[in-house]
Symmetry: D2
Subunit: 352 residues, 4 copies
């Protein structure tokens, strides 16, 4: 690809879609090449983007930005090269195969193409699971974690952008598990907490201010959809990790407190060195080091995943704390990081 | 009425209904005489009250409390003497007349019967406005502000419990206007702010946590329904007062900042004395006095309306700040205060 | 003791002290026997209680309530029988022995007398640790968890009211550990989250709104003071449990997510039955049962500890969620529950 | 000045200082010309900027950013051309004159040099008020509102950056008052609400989470320091406007609800046209138009001031709502806007 690229976003009405629109509109490589914003034909009408999201208003012509009704003809006409799907997973199952057929590269923000193991996918109840096309498309999908799959992502045609919780739990665990330090017999616990934007824009009983504010609740215990991503990306078996999400009374941000036991005694320096080595070339991971724990406030409105840890005096029990912004590193920001890789650009461009 | 009374509540699913249920369940006069909780026949089924509102759970048998399907037969069978309507105003227009016919006294928490002037009622677009029955019933209704209408409330058969904003604006203004101190030519401004519970329990775009949290917004400028109550209870003409509500990022509580100009110079002592005299027999108004302004945190979870003021050095411009809990003094608490008056009980019983 | 009792509270300026004052002022048994509110001689002056805590204002004479300068003479003069210490632990170490000498029973809300094992106490660095008087007084102290030590509490002269986090973690674990179901080799994880009032009333960098709001942070990992209470009350060794506190952006409430592995497969019914049996006579524990997890909003402003759990399909891994109000069941409410036991009153009196 | 400029910031520990550091670090014109960050000699030590503000961490060398001890020698040595003072007003009174003497241009974020009328300055009790140097320096100061004083700001040597509340109240009123539409006899009311960052970083009783959260309080009634700025910039006399600030339970953002009466009937189109004309060349004002009121959430994290209004059906009473981010358009962002003007750069550079 050349200096710029023609992008399009399908599904800008939600929070991740809005953040994605904001990032793309300010991306230095897309300066002369405005993204096409698309809504489902029946829903979009010919709506104004800033009427939907007044936060995106500026005095540089943003008022003229429109959400256009989706059609494959329109994509062709606009010569779209990369399509972001910020759509429910059912729609992503439908659209991604067609886009690939049209030679359009896809970054899908839903859970549609993240899982290679049918058992892990079962929770989504995909209507087309196991059908030949779906199997072929799944085979092309690369899990969009730049820190784990940077090289494959550069040439991927379909990127399955990771779940927000999954990113927050995989990044702190991957180095420890790959180094075979963790005593998997004793089990890993990851107790994660997310802001309300993770629950989506639809008004529901659980996203009502009166439910979410001044409250904390656990949900999806032993049954959250992101668990499959943890198992596949970390090479774990069900039973080796418990992942428990909680709904925090904040707009955005995830903090995961992860408990592991090492097989052998380690020093804080050992642990810090392992992380530094693993993430040496990953500009979007910030390492806080031993005894210095990240907090949600530091990563919100950034694309960083922050990691810190505390090792017990026995040198075996370790608490790792990781934080990220669920709409950025957990969704739209990571999608742009993947776009950068796809296009051969600097990994952090448009994300500072 | 005797020592106790048989009460019933129609509409316990909302926030005001829940607070009313809580207050009645703990009311000392209703100890041996549990309220009947009712839902619309088609909606209620035979549901558990604590399943709907886990906050009401206790270990004294609350689990057996049921929401029963409403019917007039059931009210008769249970010998209900006072019916609380925590229903939308359309339903209150329908149910109140029938209850009165059955000889049941009514405390209505909706806006159905608060307004005597048809022009003020127009905003509600009541289907039966002007019909003979509605006219007769309206004539019986007493505006349920104990501080303004204590004596009529003792014998009322239909009490129109005031709006939450209306209570917060009327109580600080009534003494000043009745004393004819206020220069109405210059106009009164009441800038009011309310917590999200005032917007109701239905999940909507505006009650979504992501909309309400970390935000403030004005709404209903020149057009809020409670304006008519202000005009009628304060004896003002449209144009003499501007009332502007705002949505605060808190669960409950209202603060109104009200701006008046006195016709003649007054001292802070004058103003304080006027309030003390006016509210001498009103146990549910707390006077903070000159230069000591109430805050929302002090009145939340109580049935008090707090009032304080600051007089400018010119002795004419006065800022009055009033606070209350929109679900208690602004709704369910005031309804119980009215029940107490109706029954000849102490005005604060069950409200400490 | 007779029908009422003369109480006194030393230290009403903090949040727990304020809640304690509120509870005692409304306690039905103390109606004719107002508590004495005390401040340190040098600090108290002769201050008004409602000037310090406007929340405590009412129209029944609360304005006359005073905080009097502490002295043993005053306690004697007022014939104080039960003294609540809502003081820093250093002061409680000093005052409790003297009170006992004067024949005054003590409920201490600090960490001064909770721990019998010197190793666990080390974190407090008590100046008098190991001295004869301190040893004797410690021997008299009963850990103030009614659910675990109800009988000893009835006759105790010194009650060490438990830590807020400790209560939230001990109550869900005690039945499982006492039944010897838990595989302690695999370790217990308790990931706890508390509202800001738990951090005290002193303005600090961490209690600043800008730090606490929209944020979440872990702290005290492997080093929180309440850990010793967990070990002693649950009969665990250091290393068998990891307890991690977090600071939640809410005013009050604790939720603890506790992870255990059973030695043998259990059914959800087994677990529910164990809890029901253990807490059959404990009116301040609410059991939510299998798959029904409590949330902070349900227990805030109550004295309940709520417990629910989710058992994995393997019947061995179990996530238990417990909630309470850190200022009530976690402090002042439990102190009143202990007062009730001490005085032979109903355990829930004044706590509904 | 040339393509870049050497800047320095004194006082980066507060919220405005932090935002200013962030903006300058990312300003495209300062790419090769990093700002010098300064602390008071006795306080600064040689501290790390990112240790103080972890939010500023990146993976591009931010860790090496230091806060250096302030000295005039250091400023000279680094050839500083523009000095930002994010200091208390007493310090700004001291430092600005010396900087000007050294030929360094100053943007002062405090209230030190905003007021030309001694009566309005009285509230600050400046020790040097009226002394010859102070008088000379004050005469050079330009009030840093680009929308009102754009041309003078281009050549100013001392810019007095406006107060946050003042900006939020002046911008919506200036067009109406300059056009002589407002009936000043009837008085203007501006009821303003600000997030907690406006109260500063020092932990105090009022910035404690437990005080600010779930609360709303009015303060500084008839006595707020920013009132003088309103009078001078709007050409009003004391008594023609009441300005009342309130403390909102949000981190950042101001919303002002301003009430005016027009001398003559106007249409909504008239009002909209007046605003459009007045702000035609002001890229940092967003006009929402008639009946479309801005909310705090739209302007937070931007440098815009948003203005919308609602006109009563009488065409005379008008409610204007304005919003901005108190740390950006209300402080650091406006300071950078002023830097841009000073340097002849595009007014919005580094502020998108």
């Amino acid at each position: 690809m050349g200096d710029s690229v023609q992008t399009a976003v399908l599904g800008v009405s939600g929070y991740a879609g809005m953040e994605l629109a904001r990032l793309l509109l300010h991306h230095p490589r897309l300066n002369g090449c405005a993204p096409v914003f698309l809504g489902r034909a029946e829903a979009a009408g010919d709506a104004s983007l800033t009427a939907l999201h007044p936060q995106l208003m500026d005095n540089n012509g943003s008022a003229s930005l429109r959400i256009e009704p989706f059609s494959w003809d329109l994509l062709k006409q606009r010569a779209v090269e990369v399509l972001f799907l910020a759509t429910p997973h059912e729609q992503s199952r439908e659209y991604a195969p067609i886009a690939l057929e049209h030679g359009i590269r896809v970054v899908d923000l839903s859970g549609a193409w993240r899982l290679t193991d049918a058992a892990n996918r079962a929770i989504y109840r995909f209507a087309d699971d196991g059908e030949p096309v779906a199997v072929q498309v799944q085979a092309k999908a690369v899990y969009g974690s730049p820190e784990l799959h940077r090289d494959e992502l550069r040439t991927a045609t379909l990127i399955a952008n990771p779940g927000c919780y999954a990113t927050a739990v995989i990044l702190p665990l991957k180095p420890l598990i790959q180094a075979a330090w963790v005593d998997l017999e004793r089990g890993i616990v990851s107790d994660a907490k997310s802001g309300v934007s993770g629950a989506g824009k639809a008004p529901t009983a659980k996203t009502h201010y009166m439910y979410a504010a001044n409250n904390l609740s656990a949900y999806g215990v032993f049954s959250h959809r992101h668990t499959g991503e943890l198992l596949e990306q970390l090479g774990l078996e069900r039973g080796q990790i418990i992942f428990t999400p909680h709904l925090l009374p904040i707009p955005r941000g995830i903090l995961a407190t992860t408990y592991v036991t090492f097989k052998e005694k380690k020093s804080a320096e050992d642990v810090a060195a392992l992380y530094q080595s693993f993430y040496a070339d990953s500009p979007m991971v910030r390492l806080f080091g031993a005894g210095n724990l990240p907090q949600i406030q530091y990563s919100v409105h950034t694309n960083y995943c922050d990691i810190g840890f505390q090792l017990d005096s026995d040198g075996r029990r370790c608490v790792v704390v990781s934080c990220l912004d669920n709409l950025l590193k957990g969704a739209a920001g990571q999608a742009v990081q993947n776009l950068n890789l796809m296009c051969g650009w600097g990994e952090t461009e448009g994300l500072a």
